[in-house]
């Protein structure tokens, strides 16, 4: 645990890391090969590093308790922090490609744990390219929720394949989501909103939630308010576009 009092990258008043020391390039290219460790298999994810209070030692990890929520492209981590207290017994992880941003989230969580003993023990972050390494982090049907909040739009047609929601990537998300698991997407870019919705509508393993279900889901309320990007859009009175779908069994598997 870093000593927050003498570290200039932490604010003296709040003890939280200062964002300006973690500024990074706005967009990164998910296609370029980066250099970060990737777990060989989901069994190689060290839960004791991510959630030390839940898993005090790395040799006695109870493999029955697994990460259930993933925030893909978590940015500065606002959603994880809101979800943490809403679902205190659920393990969740943010995946972020930008090194400095993921470091910021890591420090932010550690500070929150210090300031609020016993809390924020169920959230963590990993630096990775979610478009390539989802199967290295999660087993089949492991997750119950996946979040994609304000993903990079990649406007140009030839860059559509860099989009984090695409027909082919949905196959991998369907693989790691349990039947009944939910995928949440939101954007302030109308064209991207349409794209994400149509990808999900056209995928045989997803169906939309009903209005009633959306109203009853506490996570839905956080989509536009909990993250840094969401707050920015709200400040500017921007419109948002959501697509929230459920993972279903293959039609011929329903008995």
């Amino acid at each position: 645990m870093p000593d927050t009092r003498v570290n200039p990258t932490f604010s003296k008043s709040t003890g939280l890391p200062r964002k300006r020391f973690y500024r990074a390039r706005a967009h990164s290219n998910p296609l370029s090969d980066s250099h970060f460790p990737v777990p060989l298999t989901p069994a190689h994810v060290d839960y004791s590093l991510h959630y030390p209070q839940f898993f005090p030692s790395s040799d006695q990890v109870d493999r029955s308790k697994k990460i259930k929520f993933a925030d893909i492209g978590c940015g500065f981590g606002g959603l994880l922090i809101s979800l943490s207290t809403l679902f205190p017994d659920t393990l969740m992880i943010g995946m972020e490609l930008r090194d400095k941003v993921s470091e910021y989230v890591k420090e932010r969580i550690l500070s929150l744990r210090v300031a609020n003993p016993g809390q924020y023990q169920n959230i963590s972050v990993v630096r990775t390219n979610s478009m390539k390494y989802i199967p290295n982090h999660f087993d089949k049907a492991q997750l119950s929720k996946m979040f994609f909040l304000f993903p990079d739009p990649h406007f140009k047609e030839k860059n559509h394949r860099r989009r984090v929601i695409s027909p082919f990537l949905l196959d991998e998300y369907a693989y790691v989501l349990e039947v009944g698991g939910i995928i949440y997407t939101i954007t302030d870019v109308e064209e991207l909103g349409e794209w994400m919705k149509s990808c999900l509508e056209n995928h045989p393993l997803f169906e939309p939630l009903t209005e009633k279900e959306l109203e009853a889901d506490p996570a839905v309320k956080l989509l536009s308010s909990a993250t840094e990007e969401g707050q920015k859009v709200a400040r500017n009175d921007g419109q948002t576009f959501q697509a929230i779908f459920r993972r279903i069994a293959r039609p011929d598997q329903i008995s």
Partner: protein
């Protein structure tokens, strides 16, 4: 300076290893080297002249290096594909090209379903496409449909499971993906059955152990990490690992610095999977492993060395009915030598649990000198050229499949000196 390096890399990856395939009933044998496809008819003991109406005059059938060839399980079809972005489907009865399928990108791997109704191929962008041979009774105009994708990776091998339920794809990012092969091809293949994870380098080759008794077929994979692994495809579970380079005495069990030198380049099952032949980038010969299907284990059996010449196989093919292993080594082109391309074919007979394998002398090879002349293009080649070819093939494979890990300072330097548009923003 950076540009020079890039140009160098491009040249290296453009050399292609020689490939070999043998008809399931050993009616014929085929070798691909560079853009050239050579077929020998073992029943009639003569060279085959292939006929492709879509190609005029003296043009080669493929306009660039061939990267994949294979016979269908029933032996009626043969496919060839590669860097010229075309896939050709041949009838093995007439050796006419029955269809030429265009791909948007270079083709890296092909597979034919076991009933011979579908052909899948992978392109340089990690996409797998399928062509449905039912589409029309006349194959002429087949259009491929996209099936699945390995995001931004290179697919190195494709295989149908023996029951045709799954299509298996392996990539350079250490992954093997098992996908349910869909009934309706037009909608794509969305249901992933499993990922077989555990290799620590690129996966180079796949082969099934056809298991009659057990409900699930076992999958074998070879990799740049110098191992062969055995998998349960329904769960993705790793059943066994054989460190072939160590077992063959090529590598110390604690040394991993030169791992890439001993990449597994091909593997091939014989005798219904009881024996597995393995080619390693640094081995003049092959390694034989025995596979115990009921115990689900893989164990080292022996090394079959090739004496008297430099022969590091680039591709293996089996002929089960005759218990032979066919091998080729060679390269599409060899800078600095007089040969336009190089290929050398050898056959090992007696691939059997009870027999001693024997590397056949040239005059004992089925088809004899005539076959060698057809498949090799010549009967004798300078041994030094094969040594150089083995090095060139290795360099090309590493360049293509191993991610470049620049040391940190080097990376910063590259970033600073890069003069593409992105940094001007």
């Amino acid at each position: 300076m950076d540009e020079e390096v890039a140009a160098e890399t491009r040249k290296d990856t453009e050399v292609a290893p020689a490939l070999i395939a043998v008809h399931p009933d050993r009616h014929s044998a085929a070798v691909a080297v560079g853009p050239e496809l050579r077929v020998f008819n073992l029943l009639g003991n003569c060279a085959v002249s292939l006929v492709d109406d879509s190609v005029t005059g003296e043009q080669p059938f493929h306009k660039d290096n061939i990267r994949a060839i294979r016979f269908g399980a029933k032996g009626k079809l043969f496919v060839s594909a590669g860097d010229d972005k075309t896939l050709k489907i041949w009838s093995t009865q007439s050796w006419h090209c029955v269809s030429t399928v265009s791909s948007e990108k270079r083709v890296t791997a092909v597979a034919i379903s076991n009933e011979g109704l579908h052909v899948c191929f992978a392109d340089k962008f990690g996409l797998v496409w399928v062509v449905d041979l039912n589409q029309t009774s006349q194959y002429k105009k087949l259009t491929p449909t996209p099936l699945l994708s390995h995001y931004c990776s290179i697919i190195t091998s494709l295989e149908f499971s023996p029951d045709n339920r799954f299509i298996i794809s392996a990539d350079r990012d250490f992954k093997i993906r098992v996908t349910n092969f869909p009934k309706n091809l037009l909608n794509g293949a969305h249901e992933i059955q499993s990922f077989c994870l555990g290799h620590t380098e690129f996966v180079s080759c796949l082969a099934f152990v056809p298991a009659q008794e057990s409900p699930h077929s076992l999958l074998l994979s070879g990799s740049g990490d110098s191992t062969v692994r055995l998998w349960d495809i329904s769960s993705g579970a790793l059943l066994d690992t054989c460190e072939v380079a160590i077992k063959a005495g090529l590598l110390e069990s604690d040394g991993n610095a030169e791992e890439h030198d001993h990449a597994v380049t091909d593997l091939c099952t014989t005798l219904d999977g009881l024996l597995v032949a393995v080619a390693i980038q640094s081995l003049r010969g092959i390694v034989l492993l025995s596979c115990n299907v009921s115990a689900q284990t893989l164990s080292f059996a022996k090394v079959v060395s090739i004496a008297g010449e430099t022969f590091i196989p680039t591709c293996l093919a089996n002929s089960s009915p005759t218990k032979e292993l066919w091998m080729v080594t060679g390269i599409s082109s060899l800078p600095g030598y007089d040969y336009p391309s190089l290929a050398r074919v050898l056959v090992i007979s007696g691939i059997d649990v009870e027999q001693e394998p024997v590397v056949l002398e040239d005059d004992k090879i089925p088809g004899g000198e005539k076959l060698l002349e057809t498949l090799q293009g010549t009967t004798s080649v300078d041994d030094n050229a094969f040594l150089a070819a083995a090095e060139a093939v290795k360099a090309a494979m590493c360049n293509l499949l191993i991610k470049k890990h620049y040391p940190f300072e080097n990376r910063e330097y590259r970033k600073k000196t890069r003069n593409d548009k992105k940094l001007k923003e």
